[in-house]
């Protein structure tokens, strides 16, 4: 059987090559001969005769083995140790907008802990009428909401500030995932504890921390806390994964991923921010004159072509080509994406697969007839606030070269005539 299969390989490749040479047009049947027969069609295949796996072969299924390369990847030299590190979602190989949990990027400060629902406690304390402790079961008894939101690490694309560095969209833009969350609005929990003790809520803050060894505490203004922040316990319909904060995490729509505290254990109401390590020494943006911005929470509008890209080259030759990418904004919905294939001489409005929704990924497509010549692919996002994604030069003009976080610049892929792609900067 194995021999049979390998025998078929050359002719299958021949077929594909032939199709590419012919281009998109269909060929009249009369001009085809027996040598054009595809054995995958003309011969009965093994899978069409014998039976496949029964229903319980994989009680919880993983992707089929042919997709085993579609996995999170790490850049070893970035951090001292994988326990306090980050990896990247394989966005070059995904389509649609929802990121499957199993390949959604992870960022831990002291490793992904195992916390049982039975051992989970959430405390609300500080300036509240009654300091409270909730169990996991309590959380499931509050009215729930569902929303799709992206979570982007503030450092996404951070390695590209000084120049084109990593050759793959997974590494340049993969610190992002997009999931459908089920959870309880944080305002419901704060209301349960009562906010009369806090007095005027203007200028008040909450401080949130996790149950892991890093605790990763962050201060969030009350206005945001009462707006759209969720305590989520399900993502894409199932329990959160350990690496994403099982059994419950904070979801802070549109704001940098570091604030999405995992294994959430405490919410404190305060009259001032704590100025924790994660909001002073990290996640702040040093400008050219040495001054640094703090509290840069919102993720600005951004987009990138995910295919073709260095890890997803064009393999089919000239002819119809689907250019596909992702766009998002932490300030609202994506309204438009422009794509250029000539490095910005001419731009075309891309097709949004679905209308953009607030603080969620939007998929865009530009369907072209590729002439087989080299291209410089870029995309440019617009959001509902009127923000237009800037170029790297435009960002550098304002922020200098020493920033790490919040790099939302336009990305360039150089597509060579053989279909291979490379991360470049252009004039």
């Amino acid at each position: 059987m194995a021999d049979d299969f390998s025998d078929k390989k050359p002719s299958r490749r021949q077929f594909l090559a032939g199709a590419a040479a012919l281009g998109a047009g269909s060929t009249a049947a009369s001009s085809l001969s027996a040598s054009d027969d595809d054995p995958l069609i003309t011969e009965v295949q093994e899978w069409a005769q014998i039976t496949g796996d029964g229903v319980d072969a994989t009680p919880y299924g993983l992707p089929i083995e042919f997709e085993k390369d579609v996995v999170r990847r790490n850049v070893g030299w970035l951090t001292a140790d994988t326990i306090s590190s980050i990896n990247f979602s394989p966005i070059h190989a995904l389509d649609g907008t929802i990121t499957p949990q199993g390949c959604a990027f992870e960022r831990h400060h002291s490793g992904a802990i195992e916390l049982r629902k039975e051992d989970y406690r959430l405390m609300i304390n500080g300036l509240v009428d009654q300091e409270l402790v909730f169990t996991y079961e309590d959380l499931e008894r509050f009215p729930r909401e569902q929303h799709v939101y992206f979570c982007e690490c503030a450092a996404n694309t951070g390695m590209e500030w000084a120049g084109a560095q990593l050759n793959g969209v997974q590494f340049t833009h993969g610190m992002i995932h997009n999931m459908e969350y089920t959870g309880v609005p944080l305002r419901t929990l704060l209301n349960e504890a009562g906010l009369n003790a806090a007095g005027d809520l203007k200028g008040k803050w909450i401080f949130v921390e996790g149950a892991d060894a890093s605790s990763n505490g962050r201060s969030i203004p009350m206005e945001k806390a009462l707006d759209d922040v969720l305590v989520a316990f399900k993502a894409n319909g199932e329990a959160l994964r350990k690496e994403h904060g099982y059994p419950a995490r904070l979801v802070v729509p549109g704001w940098e991923g570091n604030m999405w505290v995992k294994w959430l254990r405490r919410v404190e109401v305060l009259d001032k921010p704590v100025e924790s390590r994660e909001e002073t020494s990290k996640y702040t943006d040093t400008l050219a004159d040495g001054m640094s911005r703090k509290w840069t929470w919102a993720m600005d509008a951004k987009s990138v072509v995910t295919s073709p890209s260095p890890q997803s080259p064009i393999s089919h030759g000239k002819g119809p080509l689907v250019i596909s990418g992702l766009a998002w904004s932490g300030r609202g919905a994506i309204t438009r994406v422009d794509v250029t294939i000539d490095g910005g001489e001419n731009w075309y409005e891309a097709r949004l697969a679905q209308p953009g929704t607030k603080m969620a990924l939007t998929r865009f497509y530009l369907d072209i007839e590729w002439d087989g010549e080299e291209m410089f692919l870029q995309s440019r996002a617009h959001d509902e606030t009127g923000y237009v994604q800037p170029t790297k030069e435009e960002l550098r003009e304002v922020r200098g070269l020493n920033s790490i976080y919040h790099n939302n610049c336009i990305q360039t892929w150089w597509i060579k005539s053989n279909g291979e792609a490379e991360n470049v900067e252009i004039s």
Partner: protein
């Protein structure tokens, strides 16, 4: 609207849903819908809809509260509420100076951050870098960058040492913070840092931060009129990522390496299983329990195939190894002297060490305080033994 009516409508949905599945998937088994089954949509019953969309302020219990959760006790709040504010709110009583701080730092912190807080490998440097923030490569340390001293105290107390967080006494934290300040030339070595002197310390970069000003400084990114055609000419490449070559291996290489790795692992498994036959008395249940107990060790120690020295030395084939016996690893002094005495790791020495590392090896930099339960020591040793055949 009575409660029983609500219950009924909910039951109605369930029955209907189950029947739909039955009709769709079991085409030989079509059942008729019972006549009283109702299709309930969210706007069928106004009460139902309100419950479904219940907001704290909309319906539900009095005051918009649900009566869920329970009051937190004072001790519970005290146990978890440890955050320290820039004005010193939250600081416990206590004190320490740089002189004893140097010792505490050497014991708990130096293994990653260096004896002089200069940072080891990729671990953060905590000292130096003053006046470099506007340079090409700013050096961001507690001294050069952190605007508030409270942040250092808060972080050291709650998140350090890495791998054994929340294990330091308040006085040790004061001492460590004093030593970090001293390493940055911010205080003298005899300065006593305490809850009372805390606000006397001036952080060099306290005025180095502005609040997010993107809405004004980057306002030109909004409502920009974008060019769509003939926008520029003569596009040239100015930089290529491929030249730098720092990307983790490409797909093709990785694939072939993957399969190579698979071969290695399977060989390894064979070797290991042979070795396991040699170590006849391994208790698999105990090994499993040991794997769990080992979680307390693994942030610093690697074990298993390809294990390397990290913050601590790798632990493959530890039994029979000379104490302090891995060449090139930077051991604490105590381990060097044990090595010179010719001492070797065996079950007895390991048991003693794991029960109280600092008692067995006085002066060890290892931050772990030891296993309290004898069971954890036994199982950890059994787990370590299962890697005896690896190098």
């Amino acid at each position: 609207m009575s409660k029983s009516r609500d219950l009924f409508t909910v039951a109605g949905i369930v029955v209907f849903g189950v029947l739909l599945i039955a009709t769709n998937f079991a085409d030989r088994f079509v059942t008729q819908l019972p006549q009283d089954a109702k299709i309930v949509s969210s706007d069928f019953d106004p009460d139902f809809r309100m419950i479904a969309a219940a907001e704290a302020s909309a319906v539900g219990p009095r005051d918009g509260k649900f009566g869920l959760g329970r009051g937190a006790t004072k001790r519970e709040v005290a146990a978890w509420d440890g955050d320290i504010s820039p004005d010193g709110t939250g600081l416990p009583m206590g004190s320490g100076d740089a002189i004893n701080g140097e010792e505490v730092f050497a014991e708990h912190c130096a293994i990653c951050h260096g004896d002089f807080a200069e940072g080891v490998d990729n671990w953060p440097e905590l000292a130096g870098g003053l006046d470099t923030l506007a340079d090409e490569d700013p050096v961001k340390t507690v001294g050069s960058y952190w605007p508030y001293l409270s942040t250092t105290w808060d972080y050291v107390k709650r998140s350090m040492p890495f791998g054994y967080a929340q294990s330091l006494s308040d006085d040790d934290v004061y001492a460590i913070v004093a030593y970090i300040l001293y390493s940055n030339d911010i205080v003298d070595e005899d300065f006593i840092l305490s809850n009372e002197t805390f606000l006397d310390v001036e952080m060099p970069n306290k005025n180095g931060f502005i609040v997010d000003d993107r809405l004004t400084s980057e306002s030109h990114f909004w409502n920009k009129k974008v060019c769509m055609s003939d926008c520029k000419s003569d596009v040239k490449i100015t930089m290529r990522a491929a030249v730098l070559d720092v990307t983790p291996e490409d797909e093709k290489n990785e694939n072939s390496e993957d399969s190579a790795a698979v071969t290695t692992i399977s060989n390894q498994v064979e070797e290991q299983s042979e070795a396991l036959v040699e170590v006849v008395n391994l208790d698999s249940g105990l090994v499993e329990a040991g794997e769990k107990a080992f979680k307390k060790c693994k942030s610093c120690h690697q074990i298993g195939d390809g294990a390397k020295n990290k913050t601590g030395p790798h632990l493959n084939a530890i039994f029979g190894r000379k104490i302090g016996g891995i060449q090139g690893f930077k051991y604490s002094k105590i381990f060097k002297s044990m090595r010179d005495d010719g001492r070797v790791w065996d079950e007895e020495s390991m048991t003693e060490f794991l029960a109280s590392p600092k008692q067995y090896a006085k002066g060890t930099k290892m931050s772990f305080a030891g296993f309290k339960k004898e069971k954890d020591i036994l199982s950890t040793i059994e787990y370590l033994k299962s890697f005896q055949s690896l190098n």
